[in-house]
Symmetry: C2
Subunit: 332 residues, 2 copies
Amino acid sequence: MLGEFKIMVTIKDVAKLAGVSVGTVSKVINNIGVKPRTKELVENAIKELNYEPNIYARGLKINKTNTVALILPTVWNPFFGELAFNIEKNLAKYNLKMILCNSENNYKKELEYITMVKQNKVDGIISISYSDIDSYVSTNIPIVSIDRFFTKAIPYVSSDNLKGGIMAAEELVKAGCKKLAVIGRGSKVNNSTTNRAIGFVNYCKDNKIQYKDYYYVGHTKEFEEFLDDFLIKNFKDKINFDGIFAITDEYAEEVINKLNKLNINVPNDVQIIGYDGVKSHSKDTIKISTIRQPLDLIAEKAVYNLTKLINQKSIPNETLIPVRFIKGYTTK
Amino acid sequence: MLGEFKIMVTIKDVAKLAGVSVGTVSKVINNIGVKPRTKELVENAIKELNYEPNIYARGLKINKTNTVALILPTVWNPFFGELAFNIEKNLAKYNLKMILCNSENNYKKELEYITMVKQNKVDGIISISYSDIDSYVSTNIPIVSIDRFFTKAIPYVSSDNLKGGIMAAEELVKAGCKKLAVIGRGSKVNNSTTNRAIGFVNYCKDNKIQYKDYYYVGHTKEFEEFLDDFLIKNFKDKINFDGIFAITDEYAEEVINKLNKLNINVPNDVQIIGYDGVKSHSKDTIKISTIRQPLDLIAEKAVYNLTKLINQKSIPNETLIPVRFIKGYTTK
DNA sequence: TTGTAAGCGTTATCAT
DNA sequence: ATGATAACGCTTACAA
């Protein structure tokens, strides 16, 4: 039965029982050349005593924790939930454990975890932060950012937002839309969403498609007004756009709900494409047409990059993961 | 700037700079009686050197990690996401970090984490497991279970399922229902859902209300058939029940969708109450009438109990958290 | 009140 | 191939 021994059994006990030295036991544990016969002896002793190496003693020597901190705004959210799930899964491949931190966008809590790296509590950090902590973060700790880049040279992994924006425009056009609009909100430090809008706009310009840009930089509260304004002005009496790219699925949903209230039918009057492709759980299906971020691949790459960093290898500063259009009911 | 020093600064360096002994520095760190003047000296040195105690060295001595493992099926799910969020939040109050493990109901992965307690990697465990790991778990490791109880004396925290079942019946009756049914699925080791059904049935019996029990013990796949069967038989030509208690919101949704396909209107023809009251994110609203599990309180209590356990204090084997009925659109 | 030093369990170096 | 031992950074008796 597990956990049966209150008293700790140490490498010394194993050595004594096996009739060898502690050094030899250590070698067996770490797979360093020992005679098969000796190895067997030691392994038997380990089994018999139910021995587990004490990770503190080991950590004190080799300065590794095999633990990584994941900092995100909150895991209570389908997007971050899916991401956290995938990060943990990928860390497990490297035998790394994940400490989870809900920063709730509080930069102090974020910094606390960065301190942990120095305390040797974690080997590295994967961070999704939209706070302005750039000036506190030094580049010589192993840290990988997801979804946004810092002003400093902290490597980041994100979906190919620019391409995603292009794709959204492309798909709306393919579906027959003639008058496009992009709507969404972003902060100064969040370039992910900005890039989506830029990609969209670029495509329209390059292909001479009529479009209007309603990308708003500022706070959530003001954006509500901004959004209402946009809808009233453009959909109350006439229908000014037949294709809308909402910068996130959340905004897409909001737009759809509000359009419904104005008696505008989606997708017949207006077609809508969102961004993210969030699923509430692994078997969930996507309803809104969207540009899906492959969170499994983003997680995989972020973890891979972090392990490189932990082992002092260099990695590219930017890693872009391709996105895909998923058709839902909001496009024809 | 954080993380600026590659070379580790130790307690010795602090002692030297402050002109005191390492013992004194240690005392300052651990708030043990030192002269104010000395304290100041040491604290200045700490600040100047940007010193952070090495948790491994400390852990080796005092055998504490200030880390707790949370084992759950998957964080990629609104219910567990909310729970994980709240657990982390409450652990933080005690200065405890949370290692997250998605077991995906794989008992081997669960056991791996239980081993970690022995390795001193974590101080304790909070586990939501529906696997049959009872025989592997010893009671002398600090572990608190959520939502189910083990055959062994492992303390658990859960919502008051029995009361919840009673409440569901009560509310359906209050809303005018005369012919009730409870439907849902449970496994042999999951007594949470079983208790909900029992509570429901008991209330009906006690109050002489017409009811039928469709609680199914077995696998998900078979249950699909079971559910279809139930609906066809009871709602295809006639309407046999006007009030249904679904053991979880998920099942409630399924029932509603399938009833819609049979052209049965909810709540006019049939009223439905679910269980859980899951929110996708903190600002989400509840749509289905439901018995809500207060995951914040469950988390709080689970963490509290675990800290007691870690400090060798005894705690009650069972902790029940009251539930509340939340009215949604599925009841009148 | 402060300093000294042993020891926590492991790894790694150096002999053997 | 194996054994003896120093060292990792800290806490904690105990001594001063």
